[in-house]
């Protein structure tokens, strides 16, 4: 037996070695941690490894993602990584380029083929999604993440140990619309304005007329202010932006000056008329035509990215880059903001800086703004190597393959956090607390029962909603009064005074593969004051079963004490975050993955943290930008 095999046989024994050879792993992410994990799992002799990544390779990956070279830039990460390791791999390797949250490409039953999942992801939304999938299917999950010198691993054994959502994660930072649109006071407010609002309005969408839908959404929007005058102004401003988009469409670069005048002179003058805003705040000073005029003398080719440019330089660069984007727009039809697309980055940075100047906020260099706008997390090879190594070794214990270190109960397994040891008195390189039991208040793994509803294609067309409800009621002993929510589409399907849809078939209701239904007991038992726990069912359409096939999960749905008001609100909130992907974007910035480290330093941080953000910011529901902003990071 060659060295690699004999080593692993010595570590786990010949019987367990066979288990490893028969083990099918899913590796989600082929970035910094993913590259390292792929190598480690192959050398551990895992039988089959499926690796998924959405992204293509970028120059800034090459300082750590060692399977990629300069020539691979713009190639898909997953297939390139597999190609790079295939020469020495004894494992069957299957790459996919795609979004793990895409239910068409990766339906639930597809996940069911795996024995273990390794997360090597870069964003919160996908982490939560895979966590939920692992809960649906009871698959062990190895969660991991890094940020600079810091990193963590968390093994998750569904139902037996804490899930990813059992501890509160720092949700994406949100800002009230009015702060972004009318009263910024930090550089980030201006960057969010330039990126999520201005750039998107000008380049990301095609020209649309203000239709009724938009009107309806606007009515529902939480503006973060009660000031009617201000809300009116924000709405009007949005309409006027459609005019600006026509300038972009016209490809007439002489009109770029009009954009500047509109955004930085006329809009500011209008804002100044709303006196309420400036009672306790400093008034902004609008740009002048002289500023614009004197910017024309500047040679933009000499500007350096790591320096803070003067106002005139910002204006000159804004004009220059807007012209470039204008020409690109006529060819590309729609341009997405991408931190690595220099034109889009420079547009956002210069627009943000001009706005900062107006509001008396300090300007930032392109280099620094990029970190904020692109949600850039520092990343190095060494931390990824450490974390991936830890993740691969702990998988042996999660799969209980070390006979001499037998796992008697899942909570014997450890999670691990590295810390940069910057504080010399704190001599800990790694903390390794044992896994905890699930948090009984966790909306993902504890408050709701979960399972898969298997249904044949024909049954989907013939079975009515009423029949399905009846089946579920009798199987899981729900009372008469239940409500049924389509979680994916976020709509109510039935409750005690809404029975219009009961005769519709599941297909009529556009329910199908990947949709999630939530059943809630609205009645309870008056005597015992107990309720049947809520049940979330994932619909899996199966093609190889009889026409009449429908199968509910073999789980028990217990009775629980009445849920307190506050708690049920929590649950609603959770659902909102997961599902309202179709609503209009409300401005918010990307998540900060610093959350990973929160676990270890929370106490300290809370004490020192400036409370102003928390006190002032009214929470706005998060929306589709979570998905939009999946960017390559470790």
């Amino acid at each position: 037996m060659a060295g690699r095999e004999s080593n692993i046989v010595k570590i786990v024994g010949i019987e367990n070695y066979e288990k490893i050879r028969n083990c099918k792993c899913l590796l989600v992410g082929a970035g910094g941690i993913g590259s390292e994990l792929l190598k480690d799992l192959i050398l551990m002799q895992f039988g089959e490894i499926h690796i998924i990544d959405l992204d293509t390779i970028d120059l800034s990956n090459l300082n750590r993602q060692f399977l990629f070279r300069q020539k691979d830039i713009k190639q898909p990460k997953s297939t390139t990584a597999v190609k790079a390791v295939s020469h020495f791999s004894n494992s069957k390797l299957i790459p996919y380029q795609g979004n793990i949250m895409d239910t068409n490409q990766f339906p639930l039953h597809w996940f069911n083929q795996f024995d273990i999942i390794f997360n090597a992801l870069d964003n919160l939304a996908a982490r939560r999604y895979v966590n939920k999938i692992a809960q649906f299917l009871s698959l062990p999950l190895l969660e991991s993440g890094t940020s600079g010198f810091d990193g963590y691993i968390q093994p998750i054994i569904p139902h037996l140990t804490e899930c990813f959502d059992c501890t509160k994660k720092e949700t994406p930072k949100t800002f009230p619309v009015c702060t972004i649109r009318s009263t910024p006071n930090l550089p980030i407010h201006c960057i969010v304005w330039a990126k999520n609002f201005l750039f998107n309005e000008l380049f990301a969408s095609s020209i649309t007329e203000n239709n009724q839908d938009e009107q309806r959404l606007e009515d529902k929007q939480d503006w973060g202010t009660e000031d009617k005058e201000e809300i009116e102004r924000i709405k009007q401003e949005t309409n006027e932006l459609h005019e600006l988009q026509k300038i972009i469409y016209s490809k007439d670069s002489s009109k770029i000056v009009n954009i500047l005048e509109k955004l930085f002179i006329h809009d500011i003058e209008k804002l100044l008329l709303i006196e309420n805003l400036w009672k306790t705040r400093e008034k902004p000073t609008s740009l002048t035509l002289e500023h614009i005029e004197s910017s024309k003398k500047i040679d933009v080719s000499k500007l350096k990215l790591d320096q803070i440019w003067s106002l005139e330089e910002q204006i000159a660069k804004f004009i220059n880059v807007t012209e470039i984007l204008m020409n690109r727009y006529s060819i590309e039809k729609s341009i997405e903001f991408d931190k690595d697309d220099e034109d889009t980055l420079e547009f956002v940075v210069t627009a943000a800086n001009i706005r900062s100047y107006i509001f008396g906020i300090s300007m930032k260099s392109v280099f620094d703004s990029k970190q904020i706008a692109g949600n850039i997390i520092p990343a190095i090879a060494t931390t990824n190597a450490i974390i991936a190594g830890l993740s691969s070794i702990v998988s042996l214990r999660v799969l209980n393959l070390l006979n001499y270190a037998n796992v008697k109960k899942p909570t014997d397994i450890n999670m691990a956090f590295t810390s940069k040891a910057s504080n010399i008195s704190n001599q800990r390189y790694l903390s390794n607390p044992n896994l905890s039991k699930p948090n009984c208040n966790c909306a993902v793994c504890s408050k709701v029962c979960r399972g898969v509803l298997e249904v044949s294609t024909v049954k989907l067309q013939t079975s009515t909603l009423g029949e399905l409800i009846e089946l579920i009621r009798t199987t899981f002993k729900y009372p008469n009064d239940v409500s049924v929510l389509d979680v994916s589409g976020q709509r109510l399907l039935a409750d005690f005074d809404f029975d219009d849809l009961l005769d519709k078939t599941l297909e009529d209701l556009k329910l199908g593969e990947g949709d999630v239904l939530l059943f809630t007991d609205d009645e309870g038992d008056e005597d015992s004051n107990q309720f049947r726990k809520s049940l979330e069912l994932y619909i899996a359409v199966v093609s190889d079963k009889s026409d009449d096939y429908i199968k509910l999960p073999s789980i028990e749905v217990p009775l629980i004490e009445k849920i307190e008001e506050a708690e049920s609100n929590d649950m609603e909130e959770e659902i909102n975050i997961a599902t309202n992907a179709n609503e209009e974007t409300i401005i918010l910035i990307d998540e900060e993955e610093a959350l990973e480290l929160d676990k270890q330093s929370k106490g300290k941080r809370l004490e020192r943290e400036d409370s102003s953000d928390k006190d002032n910011i009214k929470k706005i529901r998060t929306t589709n930008t979570i998905e939009d902003d999946i960017i390559e990071l470790d």
């Binding site: 190598k39 010198f149 070794i393 450890n414 999670m415 330093s601």
Partner: protein, 459 residues
Amino acid sequence: MEKYDRQLRLWGDNGQSYIESANICIIGPHNPLLQETLKNLILPGFKKFNWLNTSDSSNIQSNNNNDLFFNDINDILKLNEDKVELSIELWNNSIDKSFWKNFQILIILSINDKSIISYFDNLLSLPKNDNDSLYLPPIILAHSIGLFGYVHLKFFNPHFILETHPDYPRYDLILDKPWPQLKQFMDKLDLTNLNDSLISQLPYVVFLYKAIEAIPNNEIKSTTSIKNWLGNIDLPINNGNLNFIQAKRYSYLAFYDTESEARILKILKDAVKFESESNLWRDNFNNNVIKLVKCFKIYLDEFKFIPINGEIPDMESKSEYFIELEKVYRAKSESDKEKFKGITRQNCPEIPDDFINLFWKNIRNIAFVKPSKKPIHYIWDTSDLLFRDLLELQFGTENNVQMDEKFQLSLVVNSYSTSSIIAGIAAQEVLKVITHQYVPVDDALVYNGLDDEINTFSI
């Protein structure tokens, strides 16, 4: 620089320039730990390596290439498109001691020949002689086996870190020691005369200053007395005013920080003491810092207080007030710095201005790792049993192993993931040492893969 964008956010152009000009020596056999360490150093931009190969031919045979990731050591060099130099020689015990002054760091991996340790211990025991001084860079020793491994750092001179990157920046507002310009700024803002709108836009620092000023000198001035004063003052702003709330919250920032002062003074004292005791290797960075430390002592003798670095925390404020306040603190820091530079010009005029500025800015964050005068073989005297057992296994004296038998199956083989982890940690420490940023491990750690444990201790 785009390629290094993600890591520049950790250590900046300055740190990167140290990385790209460093010369690294690696001693050890061709094995996964060596490959992984080299990989982890080439990716972030190290460019010059010497490898003193300790493999003997029989060892190469038994170390089947099958457990290496890279077929050829040259494949690792190609991980960075920039030019990377690796010169390979076989280790021999007669290398001249002058050889070592070429390197910024020495990494000794998985050697199984104790005579290599003896070679260095012999150098260290040579009598001190100014004309024939020994230059020995910091050494990192590492090894991995089964699900276990260790990393040990050894410095022969005080190792200084200026940019320690603390999790929370520490600001000193020293409102209890006002200088004329600060007093002038504060006196202009009269709480009894300002209108409501202006009062609500005052940065919290102003409230803190007014509190300290108002508390009679015969009473104890503390965060409690500040909070009491703030609680009782009659101002036209309601309790919800953010700046006013912040004043209470950050009252601890008001006073000169005597705790920091004590910590810094101790570091300076220890550093000078250790420096005077050794005349071995000292890199340029450490050399500059130790000179500046001596100048700083002169400064403190005359001016008494740890100076401010001119930075103030973000705070809500009318921007005019904030900008002016920032100017007052910056000007104070600059004028103190000029006094300091007066001292450095006399004592060490060769130190570049940029370096003095860096020192000045980070004086509150300064840290150092103490050197060790003990020979390397003292590691066998460690009280950490696992570390000791790992050393016995590494150097082929496994009869001395005392650990539980059940571990031993895993102890005699290579586990690639363990090598990955240990190589990751070793390279991580190299990065900290070479950039002089972030505090390295002091001075040993042992990894135990059976429960994800890393124990850190000093030898």
